[in-house]
Structures are given as structure tokens and as C-alpha cells.
Symmetry: C3
Subunit: 297 residues, 3 copies
């Protein structure tokens, strides 16, 4: 029985890993990505004022992960745009979401049950991308652990990691925060996931790639669907982090800080503008996490 | 007669396409580009305070199109700087325009009749660059329509597309707008032109490259010279766009927007800073178009 | 005697040039680099709030020169991160400086005599990097003078040249200034140094690379140690520059500027925000030079 179960699971996992992504899952990915672009303040107005800029933003949301990965590996950042079919598909989704008569398409896809399906399907693509990214980097840098992780991470996080650039394209500029200072759940999950895939790729994790893809996809699906239903943004990693971080990274030791203050007043005089006070930062942090969680979904 | 005329035109076009660009037309290109750098507020003061930064800005204005194209195709962004003669020529122009005794050189080249000649010659270089960009991209991505367009476009627009970066180098930061949100005429013309050249390259447009270069150059010359003489910034594409855009991209449907407001208040709470109100944006838009039209010339 | 002395010096220089950099000198480089990160306002708080962002900043400070050089030459910007040992070493230094119990490590390395040794050792690495950068670029672009200089320069200046990006990562944004507008001593010295190494590489400077490395390292060591001891930021190049610059680049000719004002009022209306007034710029300039000098050390 045990064995049979294991076998069945193995077959299921490998069948799942062999599932073609294009066009079905990709479409879901594009829909959810562009859906969250419409949630950005001013995005809809922009689509009317300058459709081209809006289209470019949509492309960043759909293909940001490829652009970043190609940049990191020193390849052409628009290399993926040679897949005309994908770009045309993403363009069609963008057009339907923003300009469909009576806004029908938007209403359909943002109808919760529909949306949940798409959100779940998007995670399938995300995990595949992470695996592919780690695989690609491993192919070029056989022992480049950090490069594998970096590549897998950007493939999983996508546009979220270049949110400041994406905002700038829309004429918005929020320098006081960024996705790395305040990671959203998908970005963090991609980071942890890419570590697992790197360990698997370098044979430190005794599990088949298919199984890892299967289990990590399930985990991501459950988390994201749950978060979307409950509109919650609480990271499931929080408890673990709150336990581990204090051990390794301590808490703000004002003494340490003051020490610097005394010793290097000069460097502080010129701090201009001063970093926002902790409190406001916290609030902002909260708000940002909300928005970012959406964007990065 | 007809035939003879066609033949003559064909010969003229191919002769025109065979015209060497360096050094004459390049010089004109550098002169006009750096001339418009001097129009940037604070550019002249900067040339006195930190000549090196001013020189770097001038290089961006002269070679921005190569830098961007190389970035897009994943090559060394400073690859073109291996053409020492071009760089030295551009440096000489920069020096003469900013530091020539009694400002003679600047007065000569900005004397309208002279300037018009240079402006016309600059368009010759621009159109050649677009053709070369599309050609280069087509050579690497045989069916990469979007890559061909992107490459041709940045080759034609040049520094305008990286205006925010160029401003940042001068210590100026205007995040509320950019060349893609509010396209200047040259940027838009380059975009339409690169579409034509891409169609020609992929044999969808039944016209020889030489002829297309010839006719598009004539069009650009006439437009730019006219706009420079009349100090106007009205885009000749406006009528067509005003007719087509509403059909495909509608107008701001407040219902659509409100829908988002209700549905995703959260994402709005954190909009910080808020996007400037439409009215002020319009004004700015106007002003920007003015400045950008100049820069991108 | 003369000859013997020359021989001995030559042997000393070549022995010095053959000195292995890793791990000793690299460690010193990482220590000083990260030490100056801790001087950045808010850096210590950040290390507590988001250790990952802090680690990323530390990596930029340690490997910024490689990242920039790879970007310029169109290679993978994270290529150097395939040297796991270097990255792990840098990570260890980062951890010890920020999170060592009772802050012991920080106190040790920032104890002046110790610090001076590290500062001196860092210059050894800097000069080697410049030489290697010029060498690498010369290998790819045999006559690319400007590319050699650019590569050597970024290899020598490192993170200072991307300070705006590094600040943005920490949620700080100071667009009104940058390292190119107001060069710190190390950046300027790297620029002059890279010119010398380029001349040497192209056989215009009749001196062996080993000797040039030796003498330039000595010069940098003396300057940096002196500046660190005296907390001074006066550039030793100032006298020469103050003599040469006026000759070649004159001083602000208000006439010139006004001319633009009259002629191109339009371009000024839209200058928004206006460039800060000269006076405040000067102060800022001073302050910045202080901070930058530290960062770039």
C-alpha cells in the first residue's frame, strides 16, 4: 500500500510537472497580473490618457520576471518578447481588461470564484518559473549558488522587485519604500522556494524536482487562495521568522546606534531628507505590504 | 515617362541611402543634440561647476540611442564608444558649444538658418539609425517583431527615452512625468517609423528599404524644420490619433474607475504621494511636451 | 648603485604586484566598505528591521565595482557572485560588524590604528582592480580608449558611482546630487589613475604595469591614511584643478546664461522642481563630499 501510494504520488507529480503551461496557465497568469495593475491608483486613468504607457506597464507585469532574469544573466532583457504568441496573448488580455465594452471582461474575471481559480493557476506558473530559473542559472554557473538563488528569486517575484521602476513609468515615485525593504508574501515565498530548488538542483535536498514542484505549488496555491478569500496579508512565515530573527539578528540596540551618532555626527548632518520616523514607517510598511502583496500576486 | 520617373526616383533614393553619414551628418546630429542640452535649465551652470558631468550628459545626448539599443539587445552599453573618432568629434562639439571664447560657436550654430540645416541633417541620421536598428534586431531575432520595433524605436528616440536618468545625472528629478507618458513628436514619429521599417524588413510592406528611408526622411525633415521655424509643438499625428484612439481606447469611464474605488479602497489608502490631479497634469503635460520636443530633436 | 637601486625597486614592485589579494586584502576591503555602510544614517536600524536588505546593501558595497564593470561590458552583473568564497567572506564580515555580541567586532575594526591598516590595505585592492579593469577592457576593445577608462574607473570607484541606487535600496532618495556631480577623492583619484593605466596599457606611458601599480598604490595609501587620520576631505588635486579648470572651462558667464533665459523662456517655465539655488547647493556639496568621501573609501 505504502509503496503503491508513493508510486501513485510520484506519477501524479511527474504528470503535473509535465503539464503544458502555455496557453491556459499563462492566460491565467496574465489575467491576474493585469488585474492587479488595474488596482494601482491611477492605472485606469492612464490607460485612457496614454494607452501605450499602460500597455508597457502591463507587459512589465506579465513578463517582468523574464526581463529581470535576463538582466541578471547578462542576456537581452527583451529576449522573451521574441515569443510573439505570448506577447499577443498578454496584449489581448490587457485590452479586454481595460477596454472591453461595458467592462464585461473585467467583471467576469474579478468575480471571486473565477478569480480564485486564476490565482491558483498563477501559482503553478510561478513555481515552474522558479524551477526553470534555478535550472537555467545552474546550467551556466555550475557552482554559483548565489546566482541560482538570485535567478530563481527574480523569476518568482517578477515585477514586484522592480515596482519602483514600474511606478516611475506611471509617473508615481515612492522612494521611501521598496519590495526588498518590505517583502510581500509572494516575494518572500519565492525567496524561500528558490532556496529549496537550489538545494534540490545541487543534490543537497533528496527529493525529485517533480515532487518539489508539486508540493511547493500546492503550498503556494493554498496560501494565495486563502489570502485572496480572507483579504488577509498576514505572512504564514511570520511565526517562524519572529522566532528565528531575534536569535540571529537581535533587535535595535539603541546603544549601537547612538555610538554611531556620537562617532559620526558628520555623516548624519547631511542625512537629507531624514529617513522617516520609525512609527510612520511602520504604518507605511503595513500599507505597502497590502499593496505589494496584491501587485506581486 | 512614368517608368523613367520611377527609375530616376529609385536611383535618387538608393544614392541617398548610400550617402555616408560620418562625419558631416554626424556632426550636425551632435550639434543639434548638444544645442538642446544647453536649453535644459541649469545645464550651462553645470558645465562650469562640473565639466565632467556636463560632458557625460553631452555623450548621453549624442550616443543615447546606441546605449539604449545595446542595452536592449544585451550587448555592452558603451560598445559604440570604441569609435574613438565619433566620441572625439562629439567632445569637440560639446567643448565648442559650451566653452568657445565669446560664445561664438553657439551663436553661429543657433543662428536660425544654420540651425534649420542642422536640424534637417539630424533627421537623416535619425532615420538611418531606425533602419539600422530594425535591421540589426532582425538579424538576431528573425521573427522577433516586438524586438525589432523596440530596437528601432530606441535608436530613433535616443536620449529622450532616458530623460529621467539624464536629468538625474544633472541633479534634476521629475518623476511625475516621462517621455513614454507624454511622447514628444520625434519619439512618436520614431515609433511609427520603426513600425514601417519592421513591416518592410519582414516583407509585409512592398517597398524597397532605400525608398522607405528616402520618403520617411523627407517627411521627418519637413515636419522638424516646420516645427523649428514656427516654434510649434503640435503633432501632425494628432488629427489621426484623435479620430482613432476614441474608437479603440474609449474615454475615461468614471464608472469603471469608481468601481475600483469601491472594490479596492485599500490599494488607494496607500497611494502616497497621490497622482497629480488631472488638470495640473494637463498643464504639466503641455509644458513637458514643449521641453521634450526640444530635447528629442 | 643607481642601477642596483632601480633593479631592487623593480623587483620590489613586481613582487608587490604578484602579492595575492584573496583572502587577506579582500577581507580588509570588505571590512572598510561595510564599516562605511554602518556610517550611513539609518543603516543600523535597517539591519534590524530587514536584515536581507541590509545584506544586499553590504554586497553592493563590497562588489559594486564588479557589478558596474560587468554591466558596462555587457556581461552578467552578478557574474562575480559565482565566487562563493568571496561572497561568504563578505557575508561573514557583514554579520560580525552588524550583529556581533556586544558589538565587539565593530569596536575592534573601527579602532583607529586598526582602521588605518585596513584603509591602507583597501587601496591595494582598489588599484589592482583599476589595473585589472583596464586590462580586461583592453583585451576586448583593443583601441577602445574610452571603454578602458570607463571600465577602470568603475572598478576603482565601485558603489560610490551607484550611490543613488544604493540609497534607494535603503529607502533614501537624494536626487539633487550624485557622485558624478560632486566627485569624492577616491572617485576622482580612480579616474586619474585609470587614465594613467590606460596610457600604460597602450604603451604611451613608458613604465611597467608593476611599477605603476606600486607607485599609484603608495600614493593612494598615503592620501587615504592621511585623510582618515585628519578627518579631512580636502582633495590633493584641488590646487592643480583650480589652476587648470579656469583656463579650459572658464567660469559661469552670466551673459551666456541670460541669453538662454531670453531665448528659451519656455524651457524654463517647466523646470519643476527648479534646481536648488547655488548657495544651498554649495553647502550640500560640502556635506555630500564628506559623506561620499567616506562611502567611496
Amino acid at each position: 500500500m505504502e509503496l503503491a501510494g508513493a508510486l501513485q504520488l510520484g506519477e501524479l507529480a511527474s504528470a503535473f510537472a509535465a503539464l503544458p503551461i502555455f496557453p491556459l496557465f499563462d492566460t491565467a497568469y496574465f489575467i491576474v497580473s493585469i488585474l492587479y495593475l488595474t488596482y494601482e491608483p491611477g492605472a485606469v486613468e492612464m490607460s485612457r490618457k496614454s494607452p501605450f504607457a499602460s500597455w508597457l506597464c502591463a507587459m512589465l507585469h506579465c513578463f517582468g520576471s523574464y526581463i529581470l532574469a535576463d538582466l541578471l544573466l547578462g542576456e537581452s532583457p527583451i529576449d522573451y518578447f521574441s515569443n510573439n504568441s505570448s506577447v499577443i496573448l498578454a496584449t489581448a488580455v490587457w485590452y479586454l481588461i481595460f477596454f472591453c465594452p461595458m467592462n464585461i471582461f473585467y467583471k467576469c474575471v474579478s468575480f471571486l470564484p473565477m478569480k480564485l481559480i486564476f490565482v491558483a493557476m498563477k501559482e503553478v506558473v510561478r513555481v515552474r518559473k522558479i524551477a526553470a530559473g534555478v535550472h537555467h542559472a545552474h546550467h551556466r554557473y555550475h557552482h554559483g549558488w548565489f546566482i541560482m538563488m538570485a535567478t530563481g528569486w527574480v523569476k518568482g517575484s517578477g515585477v514586484a522587485l522592480m515596482s519602483n521602476v514600474e511606478q516611475l513609468l506611471r509617473g508615481v515615485w515612492k522612494p521611501e519604500t521598496n519590495e526588498i525593504l518590505h517583502m510581500s508574501f509572494p516575494t518572500k515565498a519565492s525567496l524561500y522556494g528558490t532556496i529549496l530548488f537550489t538545494l534540490q538542483q545541487t543534490h543537497w535536498l533528496p527529493i525529485s524536482e517533480a515532487n518539489l514542484i508539486f508540493f511547493f505549488t500546492m503550498f503556494m496555491m493554498v496560501c494565495k487562495v486563502f489570502m485572496t478569500v480572507t483579504h488577509s496579508h498576514a505572512s504564514p512565515f511570520a511565526p517562524v521568522e519572529n522566532f528565528i530573527c531575534p536569535v540571529f539578528f537581535g533587535s535595535v540596540s539603541s546603544g549601537h546606534t547612538n555610538h554611531h551618532h556620537d562617532h559620526h555626527g558628520a555623516s548624519h548632518e547631511v542625512s537629507h531628507p531624514p529617513p522617516p520616523p520609525a512609527k510612520s514607517k511602520e504604518e507605511l510598511n503595513e500599507g505597502t505590504r497590502k499593496r505589494k502583496a496584491k501587485k506581486a500576486e
